[in-house]
C-alpha cells in the first residue's frame, strides 16, 4: 500500500471515529465547564459533580437502577445459560425455529416490545413497579445472553461431552465440571452485557415503570425535558464510564476464553 493510500485510510478512519465520539467528548468536557448556561469554555470545575452527589433523589434512582440491573442480569444470565446449553446439546423439533425467534427478539424495535409488555402486564394485572421492570428487563436481556453463550458453545468440540461421558461422568458432573467451566468467560460476558443493557434502557422501561420505583435513565429523561443542566452532563459522563468499563471487561473475558 502506498503512503498516500495509507494517509487517506487514516483520514477516513479518523473522521468516522470523530463523528461517533465527538458528541460524547463534548458532553464530558461540558461536565467540567465552570458555567451553568453557556456552552463556551469558562474554566475547569468539579462543581457539577459535587452538586450531583448531594442530590439524594438522584442517588435513590441510581441505586434502584443498580439493583434492577444486577437482578435482571443475574436472572437472565442463569436462564440464558440453560437455554443456550439446551439449544446446543439436545436435538428436538422446531429447534431452528426457536433459534430464529431469539434473533427476532434482538432486532425487534424496543417500542414494540415496550407496548406489548405494558399490555400484557395490565391484562394479567402486574402492578407497574420493580417487578414489572424486572420482568421486562429479563425479557430483553435474555436473547443477548443466549446469543453470546451459544456463539461460544458452537466453538466447542462436541466430542468433549462424549469423552466426559465415556470416562464415566454423569450428566451432573458434565454440567458442573465441563460445560460451565468451559463457558464461564461467555457467561460473565453475558452477565456484564445484560447489566449494561438494563442499566441504560429508557424505551421499554418508560412503558412498564411506575411511580413507586424510579430508575436512573427515566429520571434523566425527565430532567432533560426541563433543559440540559450541567449536573446532567456530569451524570451522563459517569454512566458513560460505567458502560465503557463493563463493555471492555465483557470483551476481555470473551477474548481470554479464546486463548484458554
Amino acid at each position: 500500500m502506498s503512503k498516500n493510500q495509507n494517509k487517506l485510510g487514516n483520514c477516513f478512519l479518523g473522521s468516522t471515529y470523530a463523528f461517533l465520539y465527538l458528541p460524547i467528548l463534548i458532553l464530558i468536557a461540558l461536565s467540567f465547564n465552570n458555567a451553568r448556561y453557556s456552552t463556551t469554555w469558562h474554566g475547569f470545575s468539579w462543581q457539577w459533580y459535587s452538586l450531583l452527589f448531594q442530590d439524594t433523589d438522584l442517588w435513590i434512582s441510581a441505586l434502584h437502577s443498580l439493583v434492577l440491573g444486577v437482578t435482571a442480569g443475574c436472572i437472565s444470565t442463569l436462564l440464558g445459560t440453560l437455554a443456550a446449553i439446551a439449544l446446543f446439546r439436545f436435538k428436538f423439533q422446531g429447534k431452528s425455529l426457536l433459534q430464529g425467534l431469539i434473533f427476532v427478539l434482538i432486532v425487534i424495535p424496543d417500542i414494540v416490545l415496550g407496548i406489548a409488555l405494558l399490555m400484557l402486564f395490565s391484562k394479567i394485572q402486574v402492578p407497574l413497579g420493580f417487578f414489572s421492570l424486572l420482568l421486562a428487563h429479563i425479557t430483553f436481556c435474555l436473547p443477548f445472553v443466549i446469543v453470546t453463550i451459544f456463539g461460544r458453545m458452537t466453538h466447542i468440540d462436541k466430542n468433549i461431552f462424549e469423552a466426559a461421558k465415556d470416562l464415566g461422568a454423569s450428566e451432573f458432573i458434565i454440567f458442573f465440571k465441563v460445560t460451565i467451566p468451559m463457558l464461564l468467560p461467555a457467561i460473565i460476558a453475558g452477565l456484564l452485557l445484560s447489566f449494561t443493557l438494563s442499566f441504560d434502557d429508557v424505551m421499554i422501561s418508560y412503558f412498564v415503570s411506575g411511580p413507586s420505583f424510579e430508575i436512573l435513565p427515566l429520571k434523566i429523561f425527565a430532567m432533560a425535558k426541563l433543559g440540559i443542566k450541567p449536573e446532567l452532563n456530569a451524570l451522563c459522563t459517569i454512566i458513560f464510564l460505567i458502560t465503557i468499563v463493563t463493555t471492555f471487561s465483557a470483551q476481555l473475558f470473551l477474548r481470554k476464553n479464546k486463548h484458554a
Binding site: D157, N159, I160, E162, A163, A164, K165, D166, L167, G168, A169, S170, I173, V178, P181, M182, L184, H259, A260
Partner: protein
C-alpha cells in the same frame, strides 16, 4: 474371564431407512490389536460407537466380557475411547484431564496422584502435568488423550482414527509407540482407520469393512496376500486385474487365456468351463525385463513403458500391454543391478512368478 472380550452377534444398524451395518459378527480376543479398516462411510466408526455405548444396535447383540451390554449406558462400560480430535478438556491441566475418570469415581486424591503420574510416565509426559492442552503439540495432546483413556485400566481401548490429524512423520512414530504401548499394557485395542498401511503395520488382525458389511477378517498378511474378494483386493494395496474366462479345470489348475496367451494356474477352488474369473497381481509381483535381458519369452508378455515414477526405494512403472491394457509394476532397487533404468516408450517383457497370482470368481 470369557474367551472374548467383545462379541458382536448379528448386529444391524439402521439410521432412518439407511442400512449402516448388516449382520456384523465379530469376536475380539483379550489383548489383541484389532483394526477396523474401510473407506469413510463403511460403518467402522458406527461399530466403535456401538461398543462405547453412543449408538444402540437396531438388531443383534453386543457382549462385553461375556455379558449382554445392549442396554448398558456409556458411562457404565469399562471401555474408553481416544477421539480423533483428542477431545481434551481445554480448561483443565494435563493432570486434571488424566485424573478426570478417577475423580468421577470419587477416589481419594492420595490414590489418584500416583496413578496419574504412572499413566503420564507411560506416555512420557510426566514433566507436563501442569500444562494446559493448548500449550502442547499435537503429538503430546494425543498422548494425554491416551493417558486419560488408559488410567482407568479399561478392558478395551477404542481408537477412532487417532493419528489422522498428525503429520506424516509424527504419525509414523506414533504407530510404533501405540503398538509398543499396547504390548506393554496388554489391553485390547480396537483401532479404526481408513489407512491400509496403518492397519497392516500395527494390527494382529484386520477387519475389512465395506458398505456396512465385513468383507474379510484376517491377519494383515492374509488380507493382503489372499484377499477374500475384489473389494478387499482393491482397497488394500494396488492390484492389477485380468478378467478372463475358464477354458478348463483339471488337476487343481485352471486354464485361462490372458493377453492372447493360454496358461494354467493352480486353484484349490474348482471352476467349471465358461466360469468368469479374475486373475489378480500385485505390482511388486510383476517383473519387468529389458528386451536384451531375456532369451526365452515363453510365458512373458510384451509391453511398452508408459510412465516411470521414481520413489526412492522402488521404481513404479506403468506398462502398456498389446491389448492396450495398462498395468502397474513396482521394481525394487538392487545394489548390484543397474538395469533398473527405464525410458519412456521402451519395449519390455513382463512376467510374474507362478503361484503368486490370486484367482477370484467374477463379481456382478
Amino acid at each position: 474371564m470369557t474367551d472374548y472380550v467383545i462379541e458382536l452377534q448379528d448386529i444391524n444398524k439402521r439410521f432412518h431407512d439407511q442400512h449402516v451395518l448388516n449382520n456384523i459378527n465379530l469376536q475380539i480376543k483379550h489383548g489383541e490389536f484389532l483394526t477396523l479398516l474401510g473407506p469413510s462411510g463403511c460403518g467402522k466408526t458406527t461399530i466403535l460407537r456401538m461398543i462405547s455405548g453412543f449408538e444402540q444396535p437396531t438388531h443383534g447383540q453386543l457382549l462385553i466380557d461375556g455379558k449382554n451390554a445392549n442396554n448398558l449406558i456409556a458411562e457404565a462400560r469399562n471401555v474408553h475411547t481416544v477421539f480423533q480430535s483428542f477431545a481434551l478438556f481445554p480448561h483443565m491441566t494435563v493432570y486434571e484431564n488424566v485424573a478426570f475418570s478417577l475423580r468421577c469415581q470419587k477416589l481419594p486424591e492420595t490414590e489418584i496422584k500416583p496413578r496419574v503420574f504412572e499413566a503420564l510416565q507411560i506416555v512420557k509426559l510426566a514433566d507436563f502435568a501442569q500444562r494446559k492442552p493448548a500449550q502442547l503439540s499435537g503429538g503430546q495432546q494425543q498422548r494425554v488423550a491416551i493417558a486419560r483413556a488408559i488410567i482407568n485400566r479399561p478392558l478395551v481401548l477404542l481408537l477412532d482414527e487417532p493419528l489422522s490429524s498428525l503429520d506424516y512423520r509424527l504419525r509414523k512414530s506414533m504407530q510404533v509407540e501405540l503398538k509398543q504401548l499396547q504390548r506393554k499394557l496388554g489391553i485390547t485395542f480396537i483401532f479404526v482407520t481408513h489407512d491400509q498401511e496403518e492397519a497392516l503395520s500395527m494390527s494382529d488382525r484386520v477387519v475389512v469393512l465395506h458398505d456396512g458389511q465385513i468383507q474379510q477378517i484376517g491377519k494383515p498378511r492374509e488380507v493382503y496376500e489372499n484377499p477374500a474378494n475384489l473389494t478387499v483386493a482393491k482397497f488394500i494395496g494396488e492390484v492389477n486385474i485380468f478378467p478372463t474366462t475358464v477354458i478348463a479345470y483339471q488337476n487343481n489348475a485352471i486354464t485361462v487365456e490372458i493377453e492372447g496367451q493360454v496358461h494354467s494356474y493352480k486353484s484349490k477352488k474348482a471352476y467349471l468351463p465358461e466360469d468368469k474369473v479374475n486373475i489378480l497381481l500385485r505390482p511388486e509381483d510383476i517383473r519387468v525385463y529389458d528386451t536384451t535381458e531375456v532369451d526365452d519369452t515363453n510365458d512373458m508378455y510384451p509391453g511398452i513403458i508408459e510412465e516411470v515414477i521414481y520413489k526412492g526405494t522402488t521404481v513404479d512403472l506403468m506398462v502398456k500391454l498389446n491389448s492396450g491394457k495398462v498395468i502397474h509394476a513396482m521394481e525394487f532397487f538392487d545394489e548390484d543391478d543397474d538395469s533398473l533404468v527405464y525410458t519412456l516408450g521402451e519395449k519390455v517383457w513382463i512376467q510374474w512368478i507362478r503361484g503368486w497370482e490370486v484367482i477370484l470368481p467374477h463379481e456382478a
